[in-house]
């Protein structure tokens, strides 16, 4: 495991300690486990592989995201998150380079202790990186919670999420720090949303630095 906690504490940012382990599964073409506090998600990636049936596209690779909850079968909530994750990945994967192929991303929730969607996003990005798929940029997920007083809590725990007035999750891209994906729960004012976005963009810097450090560590070995 490569901890990102030290860099994070130095930055004075209030994300929970996070870490990532890459290439821990032998069968998939790429895999990564991302841990944020007590939340952890395992990503396995196959591709570019053979495409099944009607999903084949002559223009670009077909992306498929499967989100497996910790217990039980995936439901409507998972399906909606799969759509968010898929379209976020589609925005950065250069699928036109591998037409008529399928890229399958399987995300298995290992434990959910808040900020699950952002952890899924981070695991997905690390998985894509590990599989060596062509990407135009990287992305990371940041969840912000607004508590009753209007203070911003980054990377909230389940409890903080429940107590919060609003929970916003953003996916930020690495080139220009723009918003790739946004989804909200609860209601907030426009100013509060913009403040959360700025906080998320700042937190994204920490995560991208962690991505870079973890890549450096991986390649310095060989």
């Amino acid at each position: 495991m490569e901890p990102g906690g030290a860099a994070m504490a130095a930055a004075g940012c209030c994300l929970r300690p996070f870490s990532c382990e890459r290439g821990l599964l032998s069968r998939p073409d790429g895999s990564a486990a991302f841990v944020q506090g007590d939340t952890s998600v395992l990503a396995g990636l196959y591709g570019p592989a053979e495409v099944r049936g009607s999903k084949e596209s002559p223009e670009r690779a077909t992306l498929e995201v499967l989100l497996r909850p910790k217990v039980g079968l995936p439901g409507v909530g998972e399906r909606s998150r799969e759509q968010l994750l898929r379209q976020t990945c589609e925005a950065v994967v250069l699928g036109a380079l591998h037409p008529r192929t399928a890229i399958t991303l399987v995300l298995q929730v290992l434990s959910d202790a808040g900020s699950l969607l952002s952890c899924c996003l981070n695991a997905a990005c690390m998985g894509l990186l590990d599989a060596g798929l062509p990407l135009s940029a990287l992305f990371c997920g940041v969840t912000c919670a607004l508590d009753a007083q209007g203070a911003i809590v980054l990377d909230p725990t389940t409890r903080q999420e429940q107590e919060a007035r609003a929970v916003l999750t953003f996916a930020i891209d690495s080139t220009e720090k723009k918003v790739l994906m946004a989804t909200t729960r609860g209601s907030c004012s426009v100013e509060e949303m913009q403040q959360c976005l700025v906080a998320a963009q700042r937190a994204a810097d920490t995560i991208f630095q962690f991505y870079r450090d973890s890549a450096c560590r991986r390649y310095s070995k060989s």
């Binding site: 073409d29 570019p48 950065v92 591998h98 192929t101 599989a131 060596g132 690495s174 630095q209 450096c216």
Partner: protein, 268 residues
């Protein structure tokens, strides 16, 4: 800015030359030095002597407005044009990345497994997204009468004649002059296994230490496919498996660890 692999946390821009040997991430932009004669500002010393070479944009890189856009994570490599020294504008840049999934590239020599015979062609599994085709005439000395003896399940060492993203890859087992030059059906016995594409490239590099060290142990036959497949055959099954285990372990061992392991083996 690019020192010690430290860049701005997000995606950075840096001069391509400064980034050689560094880890780059998708989204990074590599700025190319201005061409000689166009803009003298960014030119390093001694560039006047360099020929104006063509710049090749290798795997993991794409051209963009500002220079080169990195699309894969790995170490940036650079080769000078024509072996000459000092050229800044020319040469080839590429990203050396760790990957498991193979994507066919024209000219690559790979190991395929015959999965079917369909009329005049064989279907080969090469580990890519699609099966490759191999004509029965694409063997040394093969004619309409004299068909090669290829069965389903056989291993074939061949090279790609056609490999692009829009077409089915096509393999041949002859070179341009019609000679087999080592390609064709791989003999019976032996052992086939898979390693990462990065390790294969390392093994195929000229004067690879690992291969040289292994060859000191005892004689064995070795076929390396660019698609990550390795076929090994030694005198006994035990000897074959020793080679397999060492090669598989090379993925994670440092050169010191490997030397120690080999020393132990040769001592026995």
């Amino acid at each position: 800015m690019a020192e010690g692999g430290k860049m701005a946390a997000g995606s950075g821009k840096m001069a391509a030359e400064a980034a050689v040997g560094q880890v780059v991430l998708p989204g990074d932009v590599l700025l190319l030095p201005a061409r000689p004669g166009h803009d003298a500002e960014q030119l390093p010393l001694g560039s006047e002597a360099a020929p104006r070479g063509r710049l090749l944009c290798g795997p993991g890189l794409r051209r963009c407005a500002a220079g080169l856009l990195v699309t894969k994570c790995g170490l940036l490599r650079h080769r000078q044009p024509g072996g000459g020294g000092g050229a800044a504008a020319g040469g080839a840049y590429w990203v050396d990345s760790q990957q498991k999934r193979y994507v066919p590239v024209k000219g690559d020599q790979v190991i395929g497994i015959v999965t079917a015979r369909a009329g005049d062609v064989f279907r080969l599994d090469v580990g890519g997204s699609e099966q490759a085709s191999l004509s029965y005439l694409a063997f040394e000395g093969a004619t309409k009468r004299n068909r090669p003896n290829v069965q389903v399940g056989d291993l074939i060492y061949g090279q790609f004649l056609v490999a692009n993203k829009d077409m089915e890859p096509e393999m041949v087992c002859i070179d341009s002059s019609g000679k087999a030059s080592g390609m064709g059906v791989i003999g019976q016995d032996g052992f086939l296994f898979k390693v990462s594409l990065g390790l294969i490239r390392k093994l195929l590099a000229p004067k690879c230490e690992i291969i040289q060290e292994l060859s000191q142990l005892y004689p064995f036959e070795l076929v390396l496919g660019m698609n990550g497949r390795i076929w090994v055959k030694a005198k006994t099954v035990q000897q074959t498996l020793i080679i397999v285990n060492i090669l598989e372990a090379c993925e994670y061992m440092t050169s010191e660890q490997r030397k120690q392991a080999l020393a132990k083996l040769s001592g026995n």
